[in-house]
Symmetry: C2
Subunit: 451 residues, 2 copies
């Protein structure tokens, strides 16, 4: 029997990222500033290095990966493509199920793929420090690791309630040399204002973004780094799909359908964009983003210009959105709890290139536990969304008595999410659909944009 | 530049375990029963299946690995051998440092290597349930996973204080379908007696062993499984060293020295035994077990017959021991906090085939953090003992200006040990040497054995 795990040599780490923009039926709409006009690269220079700004709007299909970034990626890449034979057997399905496993990175998810690239370009530009925000800690720990690798100090504004409730992710960031500050803090004007209003504030991701951006914008030696949503982040993640295509070739297979969990879009972009060209060339291939029913950005959101953060500090992006004043429900897939979505993923979904579906929380944990009991790996709750969709597809294949080749991305392990599994086993998780009234309110509150 | 990570195809998972007994200068002394006489295989049948009992005393050098066990191992094996280039650079050493990374298993350590074998043999023998004990949870989670794979129910007696303080390891066991019982419990006479004495008892590993063994001995459908110390466990772990030898060949290198953390001996046996034959054949090779200075079993213990547990329920084994009434100090490498050591490792150390050294707690965390900051992976505190020794060796090579090839086993990741890193960063960890008086007392309290 052929190997269930397909590894590639390090020389097969891609030499170029794949930029989807030239292959999009409709190019993404420009980001708009507060004046409603497209923002310029110069406006971004306060917080991003030139190479990143260039990548954000590049029309080159292939962008070279610098050798030091490839070398950093060798710590965990190429990641394995794994045939989930035990899951197939448990489902008694004629479908073949493959997953690309990104939990092998030191931080336990796909996030470091972009973190090392961003750290490299900032170091090259003479930057000494990076700031960022983190909620559950996946991105913050990835950037702490990447900063350590390229000699940058990293300050992470961590939502205070997470700082207190998730001490292990904080320890992880500190182990890699990151400085973790509970937000709101006294380090920024935004933080001081918030504390003046409420000294016991729990904080929010929007507030943490404000603090990180304010500090980066006000210091010449300091830039800001974001872990999803923006074009350059999705670009860096395409190593996932490029490797997966090569590995599927080695397996002698090609997917009929690809699933990825969808929050800000970095998983969807990472695995799916490299398959897009084949689809454009006529290949019968479904690319399906999977999101929580409680945060149904693509499946029920508005396709409109909206802010990237909750308080309106960022540029406006044309995207699917639940409204920037979205109140995230208390689900455990923290990485999918974002009101908007990447402009690239949004436009491709709008144009029918990508599909989307939503799943409920308990059904995702049920699939996650089935996966753990068959394949061993305990998935992150975010990743379990893709597993749920893959399992449903495999069951459908069984019911229809048809073969099918399924590929999904297992974006990370759940070692820091065991309290969510605890709550699942205790029957404490609730399923909710995002309320229709809230969608109406969000629509009314969208920023007004000309044209 | 050649790959830093060396993977093998699944067909290179060893087809035989290597049994060190035929190659030992002195064979291990027999286990003794309460009457001071060697215990028979028949006496072990109440809690172990025949195949395991046979392996415990086999004189065959090579023991075939059943295909279903090899197939179970494919979930994570062969594990990678990794060249720690970034660590070498940070140390500016001429030494080459390789590590065999066992943290890729779903449970995050080497423990499942034996768990799947034990689960298989018990299922083959018609056993329906397994019991075991767990402290920090590494072994319990490994057996829960293995039981799930071979259709066995697994009940884990977890030391009550750990059950309460380490809820995430408990969730992990439950995710794999294990039943976790805080010990002492009302399920056994031993537990009921303990609770009658102290209803608020924190429990101990010795008590949990007593409960697990009592239940297994009293039920025909139930056996017991142990995660270290015994010959068959070390045998199952030799896949580590067998793979590592093949991988070193591919790397075109051979180790001058091999380090492994040493608690019950399963890491030492796993990586080192397959190298022993080369040493016996004249190869200049050092094999060094690394243990905590606070629990210096090999380096300061007595070589004598002693009980395997703290209350004297198990057979007596000829081993290095700090005394079965050893009070474990509160160090964070829970897996190394055992009063005794495998009979095989003890005899080989006594005969000068293996060396041993001890290291202090803060020095191990210092090495663990250096490793995390260079190689990314955050090591388990147990594994950091081997890293400490490897780093010292590499520094010595630099000081002497000599090349050297170092191999160590990175037995697991530290994702469930971040609170220990927290305490390290907070400066709360203490170094201690095991008190000489306690060694004297232990000597006086050793069981009296004829001859």
């Amino acid at each position: 029997m052929s190997d269930t795990k397909i590894y590639l040599p390090e020389s097969d780490i891609p030499r170029h990222w794949y930029n989807v923009i030239p292959d999009m039926p409709t190019p993404p709409q420009p980001y708009l500033g507060p004046d409603g006009k497209p923002i310029t690269g110069a406006a971004m220079e306060a917080i991003f290095p030139p190479a990143i700004i260039e990548q954000e709007t590049s029309s080159e299909r292939w962008i070279p990966i610098p050798e030091p970034v490839r070398e950093a990626l060798t710590l965990w890449r190429p990641s394995p493509l794994i045939r989930a034979r035990r899951l197939e057997q448990a489902l008694n399905t004629p479908a073949k199920i493959y997953f690309k496993y990104e939990g092998v990175s030191p931080a336990g998810s796909h996030k470091p793929n972009s973190a090392v690239a961003q750290a490299y370009y900032n170091a090259e530009a003479g930057i000494k420090r990076l700031t960022t925000e983190t909620g559950a800690g996946q991105w913050g720990s990835s950037l702490a690791l990447a900063g350590q690798m390229f000699g940058l100090d990293v300050r992470i504004y961590m939502v205070r309630i997470s700082y207190e409730q998730k001490p292990y992710r904080r320890s992880m960031m500190e182990t890699w040399g990151g400085e973790v500050i509970p937000s709101p803090s006294n380090h920024t004007q935004a933080g001081r204002d918030a504390l003046a209003q409420d000294p016991d504030s729990n904080g929010s991701l929007g507030m943490a973004i404000s603090e990180a951006v304010e500090e980066a914008a006000s210091r010449g030696d300091t830039n800001y780094a974001l872990g999803s949503v923006l074009n350059h982040v999705l670009l860096h993640q395409t190593v996932i799909g490029l490797e997966a295509k090569r590995q599927m070739e080695i397996a002698g297979d090609y997917p009929d359908v690809v699933f990825a969990p969808c929050g800000g879009g970095s998983n969807v972009g990472g695995i799916m964009f490299p398959f897009l060209a084949d689809k454009a060339a006529g290949r019968d291939l479904r690319l399906v983003a999977v999101e929580p029913a409680s945060c149904p950005t693509l499946t029920r959101g508005h396709f409109a210009y909206d802010y990237g953060d909750s308080v309106g500090l960022t540029p406006m992006m044309k995207m699917y959105t639940l409204g920037h004043d979205f109140m995230p429900p208390g689900i455990h897939a923290g990485g999918l709890r974002y009101h908007g979505d990447s402009a690239l993923v949004s436009q491709l979904y709008h144009d029918g290139v990508l599909e989307a579906r939503s799943v409920h929380q308990t059904a995702t944990f049920q699939a996650g536990v089935l996966f753990a009991r068959t394949q061993g790996i305990i998935p992150a709750p975010e990743s379990a969304h893709a597993i749920r969709a893959a399992v449903d597809e495999a069951v459908q294949a069984r019911e229809e008595g048809r073969e099918r080749t399924i590929l999904f991305t297992l974006s990370g392990h759940g070692h820091f999410d065991m309290s969510a599994y605890d709550r699942y086993f205790a029957g404490e998780l609730e399923d909710m659909d995002y309320p229709t009234e809230a969608l109406e309110t969000a629509k009314a509150n969208l920023p007004k944009v000309e044209g």
